[in-house]
């Protein structure tokens, strides 16, 4: 059964990985843990159901929700975080504000959409599965892996190869100097938030579909697991977030298999604590070499 658990874990781990990307991208540019990300992720899955109610069709609803969720993340930045940056507020104030923003988003969803669990369509299951001996890999697991993998490659290319990506890396290291290069720093930060929100939306669609459930507080547990993945891989490093997500996903499925499902949610936190004690920078975390 070991290989079966690992296969299950890789599929769900890839979904954690792309939610983790959102933490990593924003941390990469602002050195800020954006705790509103979990609620933004929940928003995406819930909005897919709303858009489906408006007869967008599932794929249309996913597409619109990706844009809407990206814009929500931009709004969190523009209305909650940007005013704080303007006043040169303490980092901790920014951090607490993101926690506040997550409660506002989550509670607005409860107010307008209700707190109950709603069925989410398993839209990327094509009903095919590949049997290898005793193991079964479903087409849904493969799609999950492929979609998340493509997104990861796409975002990495943006950051490594494009001008916007170079601007992001410049701002990460020295916002003042980036500004002096003629970079509109606030605009680039907004793009980073959009990328984080939009990838959370892809994660929301995949995970919502996988468990066939969506509800306003669904972000709490997945958000924490994704956060643990991002820290494990090294915040600010995209491939680190991906590998962190895979490790969390695989260990979780192994625990479900060998210890029972009641322990599944604990492993992410155990990993988080171990990482923070042994290697706080994460597996692939960069140490900044600064020579003055």
């Amino acid at each position: 059964m070991l290989l079966q658990y690992i296969a299950n874990g890789i599929a769900i781990g890839m979904a954690y990985a792309i939610v983790a990307l959102g933490y990593s991208i924003v941390f990469g540019i602002l050195r800020l843990l954006n705790f509103s990300h979990a609620a933004v992720y929940a928003f995406s899955a819930n909005m897919i159901l709303v858009f489906m109610g408006w007869h967008f069709g599932i794929w249309g609803a996913v597409a619109v929700s990706i844009v809407a969720t990206g814009l929500l993340a931009v709004c969190v930045n523009q209305f909650a975080l940007k005013p704080l940056r303007k006043k040169n507020s303490d980092k901790v104030a920014n951090l607490i504000t993101t926690v506040g923003a997550s409660y506002i988003i989550q509670n607005l969803m409860v107010m307008y959409l209700g707190s109950e669990r709603k069925t989410f369509p398993f839209f990327y299951d094509f009903g095919v599965s590949i049997d290898i001996g005793f193991y079964t890999i479903t087409s849904a697991q493969i799609s999950m892996f492929v979609i998340a993998g493509l997104l990861l490659v796409f975002l990495t290319l943006i950051i490594r190869k494009t001008k916007v990506g170079l601007a992001m890396r410049g701002i990460e290291q020295n916002p003042l100097a980036a500004n002096l290069m003629g970079i509109n720093v606030e605009w680039i930060i907004a793009i980073a938030f959009f990328m984080g929100g939009a990838s959370a939306a892809v994660g929301g669609a995949l995970i919502g579909g996988y468990y066939q459930l969506a509800y306003p507080s669904m972000g709490v547990m997945v958000g924490n697991k994704a956060f643990a993945s991002a820290v494990l891989g090294g915040l600010g490093v995209l491939h680190g977030a991906a590998i962190g997500g895979l490790i969390v996903g695989v260990l979780e499925c192994l625990i479900i298999g060998y210890l029972g499902a009641s322990y599944r949610d604990g492993i992410a936190f155990v990993l988080l604590i171990i990482t923070l004690i042994i290697k706080p920078a994460g597996l692939f975390g960069k140490k900044n070499i600064t020579k003055v």
């Binding site: 003042l176 100097a177 002096l180 003629g182 720093v185 900044n288 020579k291 003055v292």
Partner: protein, 235 residues
């Protein structure tokens, strides 16, 4: 007149850092602003580039009022600054630093030409172009900061204390390059604590004391001025 600062006032809370500063830079000129630590030199540059808010007065560049415009817009207009303390991007390579200097340029040809002219000015940077900027020596970082500002040939180059913290031979090297850039037609506003060097290199100078311009004139005249001699040139 390319750049004109009129009656500029800047305050940090209760501190009145710039008190009605007037300064102008003509096209092709190298102007220096000297003054002691805390006189307000960096504040002047930061105010004129939009990093610090001006309380009153105006900054006119090419006939347009750019007072309190966002820094990135002012840079777009053709002003470039080499900030105090070099401010390179430590974990990016030398070449990536230069690429960011050309952020506002889209044509690959022009960017290539930029690299070539910078490597021509500072051959050492060519040798180290794949190296992270954080691993360079202080002098090399200063070369990189100047090179980065030259990538997109600016209309005026502002420099904030390029000699700060460098060994004398490196300072000479940097100043030789600045004079060469100036001979090639670049307009420069140089802020320096090292008055000897600055007054030798520049055409015209201003002396800033506690937020006020107290003297201005040709550098050759300033060097002979007894007050300047006493306060800035070591007797």
């Amino acid at each position: 007149m390319l750049l004109e600062i009129k009656d500029l006032n800047t305050r940090y809370g209760p501190i009145h850092a710039l008190k009605g500063v007037n300064l102008s830079v003509n096209e092709g000129e190298m102007v220096t602003l000297i003054g002691n630590n805390g006189a307000g030199k960096t504040t002047l540059l930061n105010t004129l580039t939009g990093l610090v808010h001006a309380a009153s007065g105006s900054v006119i560049f090419e006939g347009r009022d750019i007072t309190n415009k966002p820094a990135h817009q002012i840079m777009r207009g053709g002003i470039n600054m080499v900030p105090e303390g070099r401010q390179v991007f430590p974990s990016l390579t030398v070449e990536e630093n230069l690429r960011l200097g050309a952020y506002l340029i889209d044509k690959p040809r022009e960017i290539e030409r930029g690299y070539e002219s910078v490597y021509d000015l500072f051959p050492r940077l060519r040798e180290r172009r794949r190296q992270n900027a954080g691993t360079l020596s202080g002098g090399e970082q200063q070369m990189l900061a100047i090179g980065r500002a030259m990538m997109r040939t600016p209309k005026v180059l502002l420099l904030d204390e390029p000699s700060l913290g460098l060994a004398p031979n490196l300072i000479m090297n940097i100043f030789e390059v600045l004079e060469r850039i100036h001979r090639d037609g670049m307009t420069i506003l140089l802020i320096e604590q090292n008055a000897n060097l600055a007054l030798d290199a520049a055409d015209r100078g201003y002396v800033l004391e506690t937020g006020r311009i107290v003297l201005e004139g040709k550098c050759s005249d300033l060097k002979r001025d007894p007050a300047v001699k006493k306060a800035y040139l070591g007797g």
